[in-house]
């Protein structure tokens, strides 16, 4: 990888200032995606701003009817936190399936959400649960946050500080992992909460999306059978050596059924 300067600010304000001063600097959280990208020289930041020394980005707390998770919280912590396991067990179970143990020991929820990899797990949960993404300057509903492949609504220099998940009545998740890479070929997160039913899909298209036809069907009848005959159009889905768009479209239905069964 190309060399760069390295800064490890101890406050959010310092991190934001460093990013504002240098438009070619990049924040690094767990680095599980960024470091491999740098090794491939896909990116040439002038500086890395290490967020691991910032206390404001840590912590998991319950705020009213929501669970608020700091951006630097690791997948392992999401998977094993008693508050999350009690309030949104499907989110904890999802986190336990990301990457492998060592990746979960480094990778963070904020890094994953801000990177918005099409095959990342969390964006589907954020969409289905109606999460709010909290940055250094504003709050962004999940529906407006995930804009496209590796693209979010955040502006250059804007920093994700946390995410607030409304606690659902029930939620479930199912995905088919690519047998080699273990990334999601297609995953579906379903949730029934105060704001209604949410169905978030990852891995199938260039960006995670909501399957609104399934949401309506599940709102009327919360059961795997309710989504069994809903066909996801294949038009905008990914097609590659691992599976055709039609295959992924079928997976949306299959994973939705399994996710509802998982939610109970």
């Amino acid at each position: 990888m190309y060399d760069f300067a390295y800064h490890k600010p101890s406050s959010l304000a310092d991190a934001v200032k460093l990013l504002a001063e240098d438009p070619d600097a990049k924040p690094i959280s767990g680095g599980m995606t960024l470091l491999p990208a740098l090794k491939h020289r896909l990116n040439m930041p002038t500086a890395l701003i290490d967020l691991s020394g910032i206390a404001e980005l840590r912590g998991i707390k319950r705020e009213g009817d929501a669970i608020v998770i700091g951006a630097m919280v690791k997948h392992f912590e999401v998977a094993t936190d008693p508050q999350i396991m009690a309030a949104i067990p499907a989110l904890a179970r999802m986190a336990a399936t990301i990457g492998d143990t060592q990746v979960r020991n480094r990778g963070t929820i904020g890094g994953s959400l801000a990177n918005n990899d099409p095959a990342a797990d969390y964006p589907a949960a954020a969409l289905a649960l109606g999460a709010t993404l909290i940055t250094d300057r504003r709050q962004i509903p999940a529906d407006d946050f995930f804009v496209g492949m590796f693209t979010t609504a955040m502006e250059p220099g804007e920093l994700l500080i946390g995410v607030s998940f409304p606690i659902p009545e029930k939620a479930g998740y199912a995905k088919l992992r690519n047998p080699a890479s273990r990334y999601s070929m297609t995953g579906v997160f379903v949730a029934k909460g105060p704001k209604g039913v949410g169905v978030g899909v990852n891995g199938a298209a260039s960006c995670a999306f909501r399957q609104k036809e399934m949401e309506a069907a599940l709102a009327a009848n919360w059961s795997p059978e309710a989504v069994a005959n809903i066909r996801q159009p294949a038009n905008d889905l990914n097609s590659d050596i691992h599976g055709s768009a039609e295959y992924r479209a079928n997976l949306v239905t299959v994973m939705a059924k399994r996710a509802v069964a998982d939610a109970g």
């Binding site: 990888m1 470091l35 491999p36 990457g99 060592q102």
Partner: protein, 166 residues
Amino acid sequence: MPQVTLTVNGKSHTVEVEARTLLVEVLREKLRLTGTHVGCDTSQCGACVVQMGEDSVKSCTILAVQADGAQVTTIEGLAAADGTLHPMQEAFREYHALQCGFCTPGMVMSAIDLVKKHPQGLSEQEIREGLEGNICRCTGYHNIVKAIAAAADVMQGRTPELARAG
């Protein structure tokens, strides 16, 4: 150049590195601890796993500067000063849990973290799933799983269940 201080296998080292230097490069090239291997260099194979603080991590996907101040244990730090092997190393030997041996240091380091994180014991399925981040290209997983089950019993003070391991 940035300066990094690491405690590796109980000994403090201060080294000058480039910001882009990986932790595994410091371990292997500066400290000459070549037991930690680089297999894929893409954080998939697990040959580079070391213990950092409370967790097992892939040292090929951590910058040395990110590890500044950390306590690191590598495969070289497991055996006692008199050469007595760690129970996990002993079990790998006893159960012949290796073929070519390239993945072994990472397997052992991951396995120790796995056992530590499951104080109540591990099922065979949990061991197999816990090794997801470690690849043995000789595909000799069966004896590795047996060794970890046996070492877990020793590390956690149970009588080794040879029947289960068999």
